[in-house]
C-alpha cells in the first residue's frame, strides 16, 4: 500500500517487531497495537509491569523570562504553582473553552517548560502555541528529540530502581507527577512518575538513539511489552480522557469532568470567559461512566436514547479485562447523569441496557 510508506516510525520499531507486535496506523505512526494479546498485556500492567512505546507523543519546549506568564495565559491550570521538578495535567483551550488538546506541562526550570501533547494533534498544537507566543517566550517543536517509554504497573518501581543511577530524589521518593533528570541503564533520561493506566509507574524521556537499549533492559528485567490496545482498555478503566473521544473542540473541561484543571481565580487565560459563563449556567451535558447490562459492547458513536429520542452519545467503550464486562463513557444530559440511572444505548439499531456508575471504574489498591 502506498500510504503505508508515509507512516512515521519510532526508534523502537525494530524492538516491536522482535517482540512479535502487530503494527497499525495510529495518527500517522506505525505503532504496536498488541504483541501477544490485549487482555494478557492489560493484566500484566494491573498485576506486574508493562512497557509502552509512546514516542509518537509530541514535545513542545517553551522557554524564556516570559514563559510562565505566557503559559499562564494559554492554559487553564495554575502554572505559577508549578515548581521545577513537577508536572501537571492541563489543556490547550479555544476562546469557547473547548479543547484543542489535553497536555502535560513539565516545569524543567523557572523559565523552561516542556509541554507534552497528543501525537494526533502535535503539529496543530505546536502551531497553536507558537502563534500565541508574541515574542513573550521561545517556542520550539522538540518532538524529534525524544523517545518516550511508559513503564507502568505495581512492579514498575522494583524494575526501575536498579537501572536508575542514584540521584536525588531516589526514584522511589518521586511523588506522583514529580520528575527529575538522571540516568536509566547508563543513558540520560528525564524520569517522570506519571502514566495513563491508573497504576503506579514512570515515563522515561530519552534520546531516540538510546531508547532501544533501554527498552531491552526493561523487558529483560521483567516488563511486558504492551501495545496501544491495552493502553486504551487501561486508561478507560481508569476513566482517563482521550482526545477525539471524551474531549475535542466541542467539549469543555466542565462537561468532561475535568473541572479540577480549570483555575478560574488565577487570572485571565484563553477560554476563561466562556468557562465562567458555563460554570454559572451549568454544563449542558455531563460525561458519565456506564456498565452494560446485557450482552454486547457499546462503542464510540453509539447513541444514548431516552423515550425513543437520541439524548447523548458514547465516547469510548470496551470489554474490560479487569471487571470482565462491557464498560464505557458517554455524554448525557445532567438529568441522566446520577449514579444508578438506567440508560438505553443504541448499538447498531438494537437497544442495549446500561446503568450509570461512578468513575473511575478502577482505582489501584494502595
Amino acid at each position: 500500500m502506498a500510504e503505508a510508506q508515509t507512516l512515521q516510525r519510532t526508534p523502537l520499531y525494530d524492538c516491536h517487531l522482535e517482540a512479535g507486535a502487530k503494527m497499525v496506523d495510529f495518527a500517522g505512526w506505525e505503532m504496536p497495537v498488541q504483541y501477544q494479546g490485549v487482555i494478557d498485556e492489560h493484566r500484566a500492567v494491573r498485576t506486574a509491569a508493562g512497557l509502552f512505546d509512546v514516542s509518537h507523543m509530541g514535545e513542545v519546549r517553551v522557554r524564556g523570562a516570559g514563559a510562565e506568564a505566557f503559559l499562564q495565559r494559554l492554559t487553564p491550570n495554575d502554572v505559577a504553582k508549578l515548581v521545577p521538578g513537577r508536572a501537571h495535567y492541563s489543556g490547550l483551550l479555544t476562546e469557547e473553552g473547548t479543547y484543542v488538546d489535553d497536555v502535560l506541562v513539565y516545569r524543567l526550570a523557572a523559565d523552561d517548560f516542556l509541554v507534552v501533547v497528543n501525537a494526533s494533534n502535535a503539529e496543530r498544537d505546536f502551531a497553536w502555541i507558537a502563534a500565541r507566543a508574541n515574542g513573550e517566550a521561545e517556542v520550539s517543536n522538540e518532538s524529534d528529540q525524544y523517545a518516550l517509554l511508559a513503564l507502568q504497573g505495581p512492579k514498575a518501581l522494583e524494575i526501575l530502581t536498579p537501572l536508575a543511577t542514584p540521584g536525588t530524589p531516589a526514584v522511589s521518593e518521586l511523588k506522583y507527577y514529580g520528575f527529575r533528570q538522571g540516568e536509566v541503564a547508563g543513558v540520560p533520561a528525564l524520569i517522570s512518575r506519571t502514566g495513563y493506566t491508573g497504576e503506579d509507574g514512570f515515563e522515561l524521556y530519552l534520546a531516540p538513539a538510546d531508547a532501544p537499549a533501554v527498552w531491552r533492559r526493561l523487558v529483560a528485567a521483567g516488563a511486558a511489552p504492551a501495545g496501544l490496545g491495552a493502553r486504551d482498555t487501561l486508561r478507560l478503566e481508569a476513566a482517563m480522557a482521550l482526545y477525539g473521544h471524551e474531549i475535542d473542540d466541542t467539549t469543555t473541561p466542565f462537561e468532561a469532568g475535568l473541572g479540577w484543571v480549570v483555575k478560574l481565580d488565577k487570572g485571565e487565560f484563553l477560554g476563561r470567559g466562556a468557562l465562567l459563563a458555563q460554570k454559572a449556567q451549568g454544563a449542558p451535558r455531563k460525561l458519565v461512566g456506564f456498565e452494560v447490562e446485557g450482552r454486547g459492547i457499546a462503542r464510540q458513536g453509539h447513541g444514548v436514547v431516552s423515550d425513543g429520542a437520541p439524548v447523548g452519545a458514547v465516547t469510548s467503550g470496551t470489554w474490560s479485562p479487569t471487571f470482565e464486562k462491557a464498560l464505557g463513557m458517554a455524554y448525557v444530559p445532567p438529568a441522566l447523569a446520577a449514579t444508578g440511572t438506567r440508560l438505553a444505548l443504541d448499538v447498531r439499531g438494537k437497544t442495549l441496557p446500561a446503568v450509570v456508575v461512578d468513575l473511575p471504574f478502577y482505582r489501584r489498591p494502595r
Binding site: V38, G229, I297, T318, W319
Partner: protein, 128 residues
C-alpha cells in the same frame, strides 16, 4: 492452515458442505485480525437468510465484526459452545469454533466461493 475441504468467502467466512447442510465459521485470518473475542451473537434455529445477509456479530476487545452468510438457507443448528465460550473462536476457528449449520436452498451460491488455495492467495495479496 486453511482446510482444503472448505470453501471461503471474501468476507472471511468458511463453509463446509455436508449433503444439504453447510457448516459456517470465520477463518483463521479473521480471528487473528479481530483479536480476543469476548461476545458472539448468533441467530436462532429456524431463521432463514438470503445470500449475503448478516447472520450475527462478533465482538473482540478492540472491534466488532459482522458475520455474513455466503449461502442462502435456514439455520438448523447454532454452536452454543462458542456463544458460551467465545475464546473458542480464537483457539480453533476452523473446528470447535464453528458458528452455525444452515440447510442451504441453492447450490449455485457455492460457485462464487474460493477454495483453500485461492483464499490463501487472496489473504496474502493484501487485498483482503
Amino acid at each position: 492452515m486453511y482446510p482444503s475441504e472448505n470453501l471461503y468467502s471474501r468476507e472471511h467466512e468458511w463453509i463446509r458442505v455436508e449433503d444439504d447442510i453447510c457448516v459456517l465459521g470465520i477463518t483463521e485470518f479473521a480471528q487473528a485480525e479481530l483479536g480476543e473475542v469476548v461476545f458472539v451473537e448468533l441467530p436462532e434455529t429456524g431463521q432463514v437468510f438470503d445470500t449475503g445477509d448478516e447472520l450475527g456479530t462478533i465482538e473482540s476487545v478492540k472491534a466488532v465484526a459482522e458475520v455474513y452468510t455466503p449461502v442462502a438457507g435456514e439455520v438448523v443448528e447454532v454452536n452454543e459452545a462458542v456463544t458460551d465460550d467465545p475464546e473458542l473462536l480464537n483457539e480453533d476457528p476452523h473446528g470447535e469454533g464453528w458458528l452455525i449449520k444452515l440447510r442451504f436452498s441453492s447450490a449455485s451460491d457455492l460457485k462464487d466461493l474460493m477454495n483453500a488455495e485461492q483464499y490463501e492467495e487472496y489473504v496474502k495479496s493484501g487485498e483482503a
